[in-house]
């Protein structure tokens, strides 16, 4: 009888302690802050995952500059990953920064790649919000459609600004090849990036 009483007391105490711990986790520490002010602390894991994300995008930018001939648009794949996992805002920021560097690294007008990446990234972020994004078929389709859309937008901007990419013909062949590259690489890269950043859909 006594043993059972002790057990229930310990259980109660443990439950109370667990509750307190959960409260501490949920609520930021506000002891030294004035009333009414709430400090929003950024967890270490978020900072780490964002630092990893920065390194991934940087690595993809450099890798893209190493490949010869018609190459996959790795930066766009990174933007699509951000759109699927973090939403349109993150995709737009990633697309803007990486796209600007891509423009600096290319003979295109400054801002052209960035514009395509921002638009495609944010549209993908808005549209893919309601889907189960870890399905491979979905990743294939998204990468293919988004790449074609981005490449055509890039060509359109080049046509408007009279800054045509080289070659009078064969543009569609290049668009198709880049799209196929991206479609094949998308599931592999997405899986790797998911593992590295720890971002869940």
């Amino acid at each position: 009888m006594i043993v059972r009483k002790r057990q229930t007391r310990w259980r109660r105490r443990a439950r109370r302690l667990r509750g307190l711990r959960m409260q501490n986790l949920r609520r930021p520490r506000q002891m030294d802050m004035p009333l009414g002010e709430v400090r929003r602390t950024v967890p270490q894991s978020t900072i780490r995952s964002h630092a990893v994300w920065f390194l991934i995008v940087l690595g993809l930018l450099i890798a893209q500059a190493m490949i010869k001939g018609v190459k996959p648009d790795l930066v766009l794949l990174a933007v699509l990953f951000a759109a699927m996992h973090r939403g349109p805002c993150s995709a737009a920021i990633t697309g803007f920064v990486a796209g600007m560097f891509q423009d600096a690294h290319s003979a295109s007008l400054l801002g052209t790649h960035a514009f395509c990446a921002v638009v495609v990234g944010s549209v993908t972020g808005f549209l893919t919000h309601h889907f189960y994004r870890e399905r491979i078929a979905f990743q294939f389709i998204t990468a293919f459609v988004a790449t074609i859309f981005a490449q055509l937008m890039f060509l359109g901007l080049g046509w408007i600004t009279q800054h045509h990419p080289p070659g009078n013909n064969g543009h569609m062949a290049i668009v198709a090849r880049v799209a196929l590259w991206n479609t094949v690489l998308a599931p592999l890269l997405f899986a790797a990036m998911r593992r590295l950043t720890g971002w869940k859909t």
Partner: protein
């Protein structure tokens, strides 16, 4: 009371960034020079990383190639020794010819202004550390910038022939537009018949020589060199050889295969701008 729906951050940020991109495009379209400087600044932090990556990948490739070609070493070494012996004889003969030419020139009272300037000019050695990040343009990134003396429009070549010209420079790296790019036009002439035209890129590793007169004497396998017209490239740089000739309306067109193997471009020479300006001034 009517409630006002405020647009969320997820709408404002993408729209604001898209608008800033459009502004940047407009500015870089109107002020190409300033945009080039801005792009150069953005290239600066990336170039050390690219140099390191390029060096690592080159060493790895060399190591793998070395392993593969281990069995061919004795035969190759014999061939190379033979080749060195032949080249030595060749060098001796060309030195003799050079002396003879100099003597003949002196006899003719020929002023060697261009020749002397060529010897004074500095050709800067550079290494290719990256390629265009999109599939649309034919540019490469080299590891020498304006701190080393490269300027926009400096001609770039290898021992095989003309590579292109510098289009953007940062402190420690420069972007080179290859002659394969359609936007790069090189004033050129057929070495044999002196027919003049313009060489521009076609993509797929080939160039075309356009604006050739319908009566111009051109044949397959004719060698093409730069004409020096336009002021960017000096005269006499080897470009490529003609592989086919077609008639395009009243003009003739020729397909040119460059001497330079652009898929294996590693080391290049950048000619200093100073010499070119002097020549134009002359």
């Amino acid at each position: 009371m009517r409630s006002q729906a405020r647009p969320s951050r997820e709408v404002i940020v993408p729209v604001a960034l898209a608008l800033s991109c459009l502004v940047t495009i407009t500015l870089s379209y109107r002020h190409e020079n300033s945009a080039g400087h801005a792009a150069g600044l953005m290239l600066t932090p990336l170039s050390p990383l690219e140099r390191a990556t390029s060096s690592v990948s080159r060493h790895t490739t060399d190591w793998i190639h070395g392993l593969i070609s281990l069995g061919r070493f004795p035969r190759e070494s014999r061939e190379l020794r033979q080749e060195i012996a032949n080249l030595g004889a060749e060098v001796e003969r060309s030195r003799q010819l050079e002396r003879e030419v100099a003597e003949l020139r002196e006899l003719l009272g020929f002023t060697e202004r261009f020749q002397s300037r060529r010897s004074l000019s500095r050709a800067l050695g550079a290494e290719v550390i990256g390629r265009d990040s999109s599939s649309w343009y034919r540019t490469v990134l080299i590891d020498k910038g304006h701190a080393h003396g490269t300027r926009v429009d400096s001609p770039v070549l290898t021992h095989e022939g003309l590579v292109g010209r510098v289009t953007r420079t940062s402190r420690s790296s420069s972007q080179v537009m290859l002659i394969l790019d359609e936007q790069s036009g090189v004033g050129a002439l057929v070495e044999r018949s002196r027919a003049v035209g313009v060489v521009r890129g076609m993509g797929k590793g080939l160039c075309e020589m356009a604006y050739l007169s319908p009566r111009a004497d051109i044949k397959v396998d004719d060698s093409i060199v730069s004409s020096g017209l336009g002021g960017v490239y000096p005269k006499g740089l080897r470009i490529g050889k003609i592989t086919s000739v077609t008639r395009d309306g009243y003009m003739q067109k020729a397909t040119v295969e460059p001497w330079v193997d652009f898929s294996r471009l590693e080391k290049v020479l950048v000619l200093e701008q100073k010499r070119r300006n002097e020549e134009i001034g002359e």
